[in-house]
Symmetry: C2
Subunit: 310 residues, 2 copies
């Protein structure tokens, strides 16, 4: 988008899938901690700083997310900042988002930007540039990005192209965790299959174009942990894709519900939990927020690793 | 999201559809000008200012978009800033996006934020807050927002709720203008219909919840001008929705292709053109960029009004 800022040359960096496999095996963890900062839920000590301006709220978001990163870094392989919560504060919020991404990468965590972007042609390239291309002198904001598949294969290709150049990864929405996912994703096609299985087929084709040395693809899939049967079926349809499984914790899914996602290897699925980890301190008035998040991350990491069978 | 910044009380503002009808009739225009700033395509005088930093590129984007707003304000009812191009420059780009939205509203244009957001529950509420809720002391960034429908009805409802409180509008993706839209949107369902018609049915149900005094709904639909037959069919399925019709100009659609979208009234469809208007100066080395955009906006406004039959 900005020629002087854009480096089109391929960078010598291991692919997302390969870096993920290394991190999963080293940390014995398949845990992704979602960063969903919400003003009303922040610890008092941070809320006290944020009274009047968007900039002050954004500073509090940044401090909160950096504290969570410190607390969960030993137990999680990645954080998943949800950009919507930052965008709610406008440009100042996006600055806090950028600080959070940079801090997490420095802490040795992979960053999965949860933005669910989806658009066509030059617009998709602009989004890819925003999240997956290096920002000299720094790297990309994200190691991977969630993308929406409703616009079809040509809307995903610009993202995939950026991933190939810069070692990034994608998580394509296939079957989302919400109850309303049935409205579109579960529509029965003429051959009886629900729509999401066709999307899974498309994602699997894209995945074949971007297999890492580890054998897993840099094109992954979002499959809600709230639909255990769909998780097992999706695994068969996309055998080499890493699954990002939201919905464990506050949304009601359990690690046992997603055990079958791990049959393609210890790094073939990632369990994502947000509120149940980052706001764990709210269940125990004695608990400081950072150790609270760390303890819940450790507990969930251990539980997921156990059910994964590795 | 940020309690001190959030005004939950309903604001006494006319609904989006009613404000749109007033603007369309006053300007005799159904033209929306898309703002897609791309560094390589900016006029030399602006590119000269942008050499090294993201902030300088963002300043150039902001100056460019404000110049376009001045040039097209007499002929367009709305501008449609595509946020991807601004996000490519990070927080500085989002600042330029905010400046552009504020400037366009001051110039008497409606602002349709093209962000194609789609997510669930509290995340959708955060996006609604970002784009459709007031930012005291100012109003919302956008008068309306494009949203993605793949996640289902419960993912749209938080946006609709914000629209009802603050007089905003939605344009739900139904049938997009890209060739790859067939991959998912045209999948044949068990009753033979393509998927997008089911989405149109869902959008029409949501539209019934938000009819303005003018009889049109605040829940509209995106239907690509590149699919003329789908436009005519979509009109029957969503009789009270305003259609946002991208794809005229650079993507190959013509005003004649979408004439049948206007059968529900002069404001029942909006033709959106981006590159063919804002970069019109590139076709004529004698032309200054602002008058170039103004002349093309006037030409297209007149052509669309003529085919609309009003």
């Amino acid at each position: 988008m900005a020629p002087e800022l854009d480096t089109r040359a391929a960078v010598e960096v291991a692919s997302f899938a390969d870096r993920l496999v290394e991190a999963v095996e080293r940390k014995r963890s398949q845990l992704v901690v979602g960063l969903d900062p919400v003003a009303e839920l922040l610890p008092m000590e941070l809320r006290g700083d944020a009274r009047t301006s968007r900039g002050q709220f954004a500073d509090a978001f940044s401090r909160f997310c950096r504290g969570i990163v410190d607390a969960v870094a030993p137990y999680a392989v990645a954080v998943k900042p949800q950009i919507a919560f930052f965008e709610a504060l406008g440009a100042e919020g996006v600055r806090a988002f950028e600080e959070t991404c940079a801090y997490a990468r420095q802490a040795g965590l992979l960053v999965i930007v949860d933005a669910k972007r989806g658009d066509i042609g030059s617009t998709a390239r602009a989004y890819a540039s925003a999240f997956l291309e290096p920002r000299p002198p720094e790297g990309p904001l994200g190691d991977a990005l969630t993308v929406n598949t409703y616009l079809g294969r040509d809307s995903i290709e610009p993202f995939l192209s950026a991933c190939k150049r810069h070692g990034g990864g994608l998580f394509c929405l296939v079957k989302t965790s919400n109850a309303g996912s049935i409205d579109v994703q579960d529509m029965a096609l003429s051959d009886g299959r629900p729509l999401w299985k066709i999307v899974a087929h498309m994602v699997n084709e894209l995945a074949q174009e971007a297999i890492g040395e580890c054998g897993l693809s840099n094109v992954g899939a979002v499959v809600g942990a709230t639909h255990p049967r769909a998780v097992a079926e999706a695994r068969k349809l996309m055998p080499q894709s890493v699954f990002l499984l939201p919905g464990v914790g506050a949304q009601g899914g359990t690690p046992a519900d997603v055990a079958r996602a791990f049959t393609s290897g210890p790094a073939s699925a990632l369990v994502s939990a947000s509120r149940s980890v980052i706001y764990a301190y709210r269940n125990d008035p004695e608990l400081d927020w950072r150790p609270g998040a760390g303890a819940e991350a450790k507990r969930l990491r251990d539980e997921v690793w156990a059910v994964s069978g590795w």
